[in-house]
């Protein structure tokens, strides 16, 4: 599968041959840092001064490299496809090898960063419960009515919400039984076959 680069990105990456081999390493490192931590304008300015190129060209070069790395890691393209994709830029063989090495070294880390960007549902944080017995109410005296009160704490991207639920013990047992049946599905032949094929 080949990567398609737009004209603008080709122009951005066009600055790379001018900078020279050692600089490519530096720009590659800045590109990966951009993915790890976000923009670092001061680092870009320091690199621009060191390499004697103006800041905007450096910034575009890093952005182009970042796009190249993220798209390649996202699609998990093979070495040959990566080399064919950057061939269109017309760089020297040595530069192509450097870029390929940069891609292969950082691929795993970039993929783990990208996996955290997927949308998430609220996830379980903790559960508090309480068992009560209702003895009397305004309408009826001398009762015995057990109830389980549950406070479910959920968290979603640093937001915490709490949901209060109340049920009687027999419904709770039924709920537990349904959940155990759901877990039991993993042991059926159908699921086992799929899990084996996924491995």
């Amino acid at each position: 599968m080949l990567l398609v680069l737009s004209e603008e990105q080709k122009a951005h990456l066009g600055c790379l041959p001018r900078t020279g081999g050692a600089a490519i390493g530096e720009l590659g490192r800045l590109a990966v840092e951009l993915l790890r931590r976000g923009a670092a304008p001061r680092a870009c300015e320091a690199a621009a001064r060191k390499l004697n190129i103006d800041v905007d060209t450096i910034k575009h070069g890093i952005e182009g490299l970042t796009y190249l790395l993220t798209e390649s890691s996202k699609l998990m393209i093979s070495e040959i496809d990566f080399q064919d994709s950057i061939h269109v830029l017309g760089f020297s063989g040595e530069l192509n090898k450097l870029l390929l090495q940069l891609y292969l070294d950082n691929r795993k880390e970039i993929r783990s960063i990208l996996s955290e960007l997927a949308p998430k549902l609220p996830s379980y944080h903790s559960l508090e419960w309480r068992l009560d017995v209702q003895l009397a109410s305004r309408s009826l005296r001398q009762q015995i009515k057990p109830a389980v009160t549950i406070k479910l704490h959920l968290s979603q991207d640093e937001d915490q919400t709490a949901q209060v639920l109340q049920t009687d013990p027999s419904t709770l047992l039924h709920l537990i039984q349904q959940l155990e049946q759901a877990l039991g599905e993993m042991k059926t032949n159908h699921c086992r076959r799929i899990v084996r094929n996924m491995k």
């Binding site: 508090e128 419960w129 309480r130 009160t149 406070k151 709490a162 209060v164």
Partner: protein, 186 residues
């Protein structure tokens, strides 16, 4: 094998694994670390630097220090939760392999603080909201735009409700007519 301090269930594997870490610390230092963990369970601030100093002799790594605090916290709070007396806790911990001096130090600290620990756990139990205060005022309506002579008393009530976990207070104001208020009080 079932343990009372685990609620008549099997002891969790991680607790079994950390018992050997506890045995590496001297029994005197373990009692002092217990005192710190009890402070944390009772809601006071824990002094982590003191614990680091106490564990430095045993040459524990930082992961082991945290594991020690976690396992002591589990043992003490779980024993209080299931109302285990100090002798039963002592015999069960010795069954798990904790040496006798360490066990007796731990159980003595537990015994001193058992009732305050249980009070604290009772206070932390799930509670949905609490009534903070009630304010009231009785007005007497003389007349209104609808009727010239009304002459009716009106009760204003304001309930202050505290949400247990966030500490937020919510005020619920309401106005009740005299008849309805009599029904409420009945």
């Amino acid at each position: 094998q079932r343990f009372r301090f685990c609620g008549d269930l099997d002891c969790p594997d991680w607790v079994l694994a950390e018992i050997s870490t506890l045995a590496k610390i001297s029994s005197v230092k373990l009692k002092l670390i217990c005192a710190q963990v009890l402070r944390d369970l009772l809601g006071e601030a824990i002094e982590y630097e003191k614990i680091l100093k106490l564990t430095s002799d045993a040459k524990l790594e930082s992961g082991d220090v945290k594991a020690t605090i976690a396992v002591l916290g589990f043992i003490l709070s779980s024993a209080a939760k299931h109302n285990v007396d100090s002798e039963s806790l002592s015999s069960e911990l010795q069954q798990l392999g904790l040496p006798k001096e360490h066990t007796s130090g731990l159980c003595r600290s537990y015994e001193e603080k058992q009732s305050s620990l249980q009070d604290r756990l009772r206070a932390c139990s799930l509670r949905l909201s609490r009534l903070g205060s009630v304010c009231w005022r009785v007005d007497y309506t003389l007349s209104s735009s609808e009727l010239r002579e009304v002459n009716e008393p009106l009760v204003h009530l304001t309930f202050t409700v505290r949400d247990g976990e966030h500490g937020r207070t919510e005020t619920v104001p309401m106005a009740v007519s005299a008849n309805k208020f009599r029904v409420l009080l009945a």
